[in-house]
């Protein structure tokens, strides 16, 4: 942040620092130095008084010395030549005849100093003697020296895979555990994970020693609580229902921050079982009327999630919520209903009965779309459906969201198929409006398309528009995300569970891109020295600790043209056939693929022979997977061909198995 008139300030301070009267008065001198530091803290450039500040380090006032050193560290990179002059003063300080030379305080700083030196030198050779010295200092009597040694060795030996924990070191560290402070204990425990006990007996002895440390005395804070809740969610992904008996601990309290309450609601959702469902729903129902609209909506979505298992109870609660006629509640309930009837067709009747009247308290685009969709798809069971849609058509001119108009077109056309007499007039007016008056091209095109479709005859319309009204199979696909705890144990207590796996994947991906971006020009002049490129690779590998785990990026978008170009340029990396029976339902397949983050580029309509589809997906390392599905009518097999823009066998195999799961599930259901 530039500071107004900072030049004048520098001039004034420079003058004060040179003033012999001030220099003679210790307090005044220190005061001027403090002003320099204060300006530095505020972000103004104080490098102009570097020489004067270096001189000020020759003092017996230790606070002044510290301030000057802080100043030097900040501006030395800006004034490298002047910084060289400071070395003399620093050397003098180093040779200070102090009896503390051997004190552990000095050793603590010195040991970490080794790591700092190593980092400053970049990838210089590892000094064997230094490493040996650090290993031997692991036996130091001062606990912080021991821990700092580990930290330092880890930094210095990064390229070699870090500090080695052999049996004597492991046992030594275990015995020192009780003398360490909380930071040291946490650090040492992390290093101990590297040690493989030789026998079961040794393992048990170690666990016995560590038992006592399960008690921690760090104070509770909401940030820690948040981190813990994130971990609970991660555990639940692997061990569904694991904390069920403790469900009350996840009830929200009045004073908790928003982010904690949202996590708790998510957890509650996953803890539900036959025994606690009543209490959990009762609790969640309370949250639905919270003053915070965001939180209320999260709670309603949570009830929607539970409804997939405990449909009746949840639909009843949701229906009661509609009775409140609160805008922010109704819109979310209707969206929940839409998702629910798609997955649990058995609740359609109840949902249809709850809908009348909702239209009065829905104002937002999402809610309107959901309601209109429900009225279109299940309108034959809702007596006043045509009239509600008619009201929407009446007000279509003032409708601001194109998506709502599109939904309205489709819904009305669908309902027209089942209740032609009541809808014909309205449909006519809507089509007229969309074609003649609508400004949004997408809506107009959709209108024109339906108009031409109607001209092709009612049977053709039916064939195109009458798709399945529900698809319970999607649930099966969603549930397959479970992974054993071991597969992510290395992420435990890192940032990964706190961000959530999906977000972490996105973050580390952008980090990869950013890191590669700006560094490229820098690498050129050093290219002759060689080891830089493999070094960079190493870094990238380190970022992805579990390189075998496939992480497909959500919202990956590839244009058809781009797909075609890439497809042609690559060779088939893998070809396989999967059993397949019956016809293909492209919509279902497309949706199923979308669930696992595979994008459909192009697909034949149902019944085409041969039937083909082109798919694309990308993982978090940027590797593209392009796939062709081919179904020949004569043999009951789906042939898949996968191309990859980077040769990675492990991820390819994971990708094939994802594809196999999807195709297997869809194929089975349709047979």
């Amino acid at each position: 942040m530039p500071y107004l008139g900072s030049e004048d300030v520098v001039k004034e301070l420079k003058k004060a620092l040179c003033n012999p009267h001030i220099q003679a008065d210790r307090l005044r001198y220190r005061n001027v130095i403090q002003r320099v530091i204060r300006h530095m803290t505020q972000g103004s450039d104080m490098s102009g008084v570097f020489m004067e500040m270096v001189k000020a380090s020759a003092t017996i006032d230790i606070v002044q010395k510290k301030l000057v050193y802080l100043y030097m560290c900040t501006y030395a990179p800006l004034k490298p030549d002047l910084a060289l002059l400071a070395i003399n003063t620093l050397c003098k300080d180093c040779s200070d005849p102090n009896p503390m030379d051997k004190a552990s305080y000095v050793r603590r700083v010195a040991v970490l100093g080794c790591a700092k030196m190593h980092t400053l030198h970049g990838d210089s050779e590892v000094d064997g003697a230094l490493v040996n010295e650090l290993y031997s200092l692991l036996r130091d009597q001062d606990p912080i020296v021991v821990v700092n040694c580990l930290r330092s060795l880890e930094e210095i030996l990064k390229q070699e895979g870090g500090v080695v924990i052999n049996k004597p070191i492991a046992h030594h560290l275990l015995n020192r555990m009780s003398t360490l402070d909380q930071w040291g204990q946490a650090e040492v425990l992390n290093f101990l994970l590297r040690y493989q006990p030789r026998s079961e007996e040794e393992l048990f002895d170690i666990l016995n020693l560590l038992d006592g440390f399960l008690k921690s005395s760090s104070p509770e804070s909401r940030e820690l609580c948040f981190a813990a809740l994130c971990h609970v969610r991660q555990v639940l992904h692997s061990l569904p229902g694991h904390f069920s008996s403790h469900y009350k601990k996840f009830f929200c309290s009045y004073s908790e921050p928003h982010y904690i309450r949202l996590q708790k609601v998510e957890v509650l959702c996953e803890l539900v079982n036959d025994e606690n469902v009543q209490q959990v729903l009762e609790e969640l129902r309370g949250y639905c009327t919270d003053v915070s609209a965001d939180f209320a909506q999260a709670a309603i979505f949570a009830i929607g999630g539970i409804a997939r298992t405990y449909t009746d109870q949840c639909v009843q609660i949701l229906t009661e919520l509609l009775g409140l006629r609160q805008e922010h509640i109704t819109t979310v309930v209707v969206q929940t209903f839409r998702d629910l009837v798609w997955l649990c067709p058995q609740c359609t009747e109840a949902v249809c009965q709850a809908l009348p009247g909702c239209e009065e308290s829905i104002q937002d685009s999402e809610g309107k779309q959901a309601l209109i969709w429900l009225l279109g798809v299940h309108g034959e069971r809702i007596p006043n459906a045509p009239y509600v849609l008619e009201d929407f058509v009446e007000n279509v001119k003032s409708e601001t969201f194109p998506a709502v108009k599109m939904e309205l077109l489709t819904a009305l056309l669908r309902l027209f198929l089942s209740r032609p007499a009541e809808c014909q007039d309205t449909l006519g007016r809507l089509l007229y409006y969309c074609i003649e008056e609508e400004k949004d091209m997408a809506v107009r095109d959709r209108g024109l398309f339906y108009y031409r479709l109607l001209l092709a005859g009612i049977d053709e319309v039916k064939r195109i528009l009458c798709c399945p009204k529900s698809d319970p199979s999607l649930r099966l696909l969603e549930d397959q995300a479970e992974r054993p705890v071991n597969s992510w144990a290395s992420d435990f207590n890192t940032l990964v569970p706190v961000y959530g796996k999906a977000l972490w994947a996105t973050i580390s991906k952008c980090q990869g891109v950013e890191r590669r971006g700006p560094e490229l020009p820098n690498t050129a002049p050093f290219a002759t020295s060689g080891p830089l490129i493999p070094e960079e690779n190493k870094e990238r590998v380190q970022e992805l600790p579990d390189s075998r785990a496939l992480m497909l990026v959500p919202n990956h978008q590839l244009t058809a043209a781009c797909f075609e170009k890439t497809w042609v340029s690559l060779k088939v990396a893998h070809q396989q056939v999967f059993p397949w029976q019956g016809a293909v339902h492209p919509d279902t397949l497309q949706m199923a693929l979308q669930v696992v983050n595979i994008q459909t580029i192009a697909m034949n309509r149902a019944g085409a022979q041969p039937w083909k589809a082109y798919l694309s997906a990308q993982d978090d390392t940027g590797c593209l997977f392009l796939t062709e599905l081919l179904l020949e009518p004569e043999n009951l097999q789906m042939q898949i061909s996968v191309k990859q823009n980077k040769a990675r066998t492990e991820t390819l195999n994971s990708f094939i198995s994802v594809l196999e799961t999807v195709i297997g599930t869809i194929g089975d259901i349709k047979s």
């Binding site: 972000g43 006032d61 102090n98 004190a103 930071w183 008690k215 940030e223 948040f226 409140l324 952008c510």
Partner: protein, 547 residues
């Protein structure tokens, strides 16, 4: 762990008046266009590793505002390759008005919501001085004599490039705040600005190269002092404690009278729903010591023989150490999560269940435990709140002491929430006194001494304005604060405290027992809304709420 840098940010901005007219904070004219710009300036920062540019912090505040607006705020955020882990303790701020200030509370409430995007529940109340309360993330300041000055609690932020251990970073940040608070009482913008030299010194000692070092404020206070140290050649400058084997106690401590004060404190945390059923009850107990002992004394603490220390099955993974306290009628209560201070020799405890230690000097917490067994609420509250829109609110609260008749609860304070636009209070109490606290929107009913088994009543009457305010208000719970001396819920008792020092002095141990209400409010009536969603029909305040 590995934090690259630590920043203390003053997450406030500046009020700018008019477009392009520079910053003028003197005269505020409500009619001019005011914008709030959030350029956080680190109050202080310390770069520990040098792998993250210090300017990265400039992304923090915009990110924070954006997340707050999206309702997706979390204590962990990232920008590019930098992860920000941050803490902040309070997010309730006040704009207070005194004297002649342009605009008036309504205007300020509206402005506050405009300036600080994502603020929720701005509410105001009038009276002699008025205030606007804004719940949200960004800070609010005081407006005095037409001058708007901002004060706020700073956020402490750590940046890191590594996939660090999040809980350790948060713990470290809290530790940092704790150390600063012990030096400056309150950690706020001003105290940091006034003491920035010490803050730099402390940041230097707390962490090195991204790794926590000496974080015990008792030890730090021995060599980082307000006066500053003078370098004297030939004499060690670092106190022996820093490098002692017993890092928590210095040698050579001397007292004329050697005494130890032991406080056994149990706090009750309780959650009761609108139907009166207890959702959650837990007792958090601590044994606190105040030590005035010379030399290096060796202490041994004996608890009552009914306390059976028992490790539930020496199985591989004992998540909880349980202490079993058996009551007089052979009822036993299990203490969970027993935690000891660093000074307690855990190996001794594991072997023969003795709590032996060399104590730090002064105040410290020797051990803590938790009791999650269902306990009866010690003070039972029932309330009826009747609201007649546009005219008045009638509140009736009944409190009953559900503990032994011999015991007495002291300094009982029952805080009952009232609508923020209520006025002209009238009270009637069967005992104690009631007081309206308009700045907190509560009535505090205080009872000096409340014997067990007794039952008391309080009635309150408030007027309501004929023009109701529009925004919906949350329903805070009824809070109960109390202390019951000479009484513990768990039945834990100190039998003896042995003090052995090589000089052989005589020392006196003193013991006190106290049970008090927990940190969180006791009676969560918020659940009222849940059992009867009907109440929401009236925005803000329920027509009629009943327990």
């Amino acid at each position: 762990m590995s934090a690259s840098a630590v920043f203390i940010l003053d997450v406030k901005g500046k009020v700018r008046l008019g477009a392009g007219s520079g910053e003028r904070t003197e005269s505020l004219d409500p009619s001019s266009d005011q914008t709030f710009s959030a350029h956080p300036q680190p109050l202080i920062s310390r770069n520990y590793k040098g792998d993250v540019a210090m300017s990265e912090i400039e992304h923090f505040m915009p990110l924070l505002m954006q997340r707050e607006e999206e309702g997706a705020l979390a204590p962990l955020m990232s920008h590019g390759r930098v992860h920000f882990l941050w803490i902040k303790y309070s997010n309730l701020y006040c704009i207070r008005g005194h004297g002649r200030i342009p605009g008036g509370p309504e205007w300020w409430a509206a402005q506050a919501q405009r300036w600080w995007a994502g603020t929720r529940g701005a509410q105001y109340s009038s009276g002699s001085g008025w205030r606007v309360r804004v719940q949200g993330l960004c800070s609010i300041g005081t407006l005095q004599n037409g001058t708007f000055s901002l004060t706020s609690l700073p956020a402490v932020v750590a940046t890191t490039l590594k996939n660090a251990n999040a809980s350790l970073v948060y713990s470290f940040l809290y530790k940092t705040v704790e150390v600063f608070s012990e030096y400056f009482k309150e950690l706020e913008e001003e105290s940091i600005r006034d003491n920035f030299v010490i803050v730099y010194e402390l940041l230097d000692e707390l962490m090195d190269f991204g790794f926590p070092q000496t974080t015990d404020s008792k030890i730090l206070q021995e060599y980082i002092t307000q006066q500053g140290n003078k370098l004297e050649t030939g004499k060690s400058r670092v106190p022996p404690t820093v490098t002692n084997a017993v890092s928590w106690r210095s040698e050579g401590i001397k007292y004329k009278k050697n005494e130890v004060f032991i406080d056994v404190i149990e706090s009750v945390n309780l959650l009761v729903n609108a139907n009166g059923s207890v959702l959650l009850s837990e007792i958090v107990g601590t044994i606190k010591l105040k030590v005035f002992l010379s030399g290096m004394p060796e202490l041994r603490l004996g608890l009552n023989d009914r306390v059976l220390f028992e490790l539930t099955g020496r199985s591989r993974i004992t998540l909880l150490t349980r202490l079993r306290v058996s009551g007089s009628k052979n009822k036993s209560v299990e203490l969970e999560d027993v935690k000891f201070h660093q000074c307690v020799r855990l190996s001794r405890f594991d072997n023969d269940r003795t709590i032996s230690f060399i104590p730090p000097d002064g105040d410290f917490e020797l051990m803590s435990y938790r009791l999650s067994t269902q306990v009866k609420p010690l003070i039972w509250i029932e309330s009826v709140i009747e609201k007649f829109s546009h005219s008045r609110v009638e509140i009736m609260v009944k409190a009953k002491g559900q503990f032994k008749k011999q015991s007495v609860a002291n300094s009982v304070e029952i805080s009952v929430p009232v609508p923020s636009d209520a006025d002209s209070p009238r009270f009637k109490t069967s005992v104690g006194s009631a007081k309206y606290m308009p700045e907190k929107n509560v009535v505090i009913w205080s009872i000096k001494s409340f014997p067990g088994g007794k039952e008391y009543l309080m009635r309150a009457h408030f007027g309501l304005p004929s023009v109701e305010k529009e925004e919906v208000e949350g329903r805070p719970p009824i809070g109960v604060k109390f202390e019951i001396p000479y009484f513990t819920v768990s039945g834990i008792q100190v039998r003896y405290m042995k003090i052995i020092e090589k000089s052989g002095y005589q020392a006196l141990p003193w013991v006190r027992y106290i049970t008090q209400s927990g940190g969180s409010p006791t009676w969560h009536l918020q659940r009222e809304l849940s059992s009867t969603p009907l109440y929401l029909l009236c925005p803000g305040w329920p027509h009629l709420s009943r327990m």
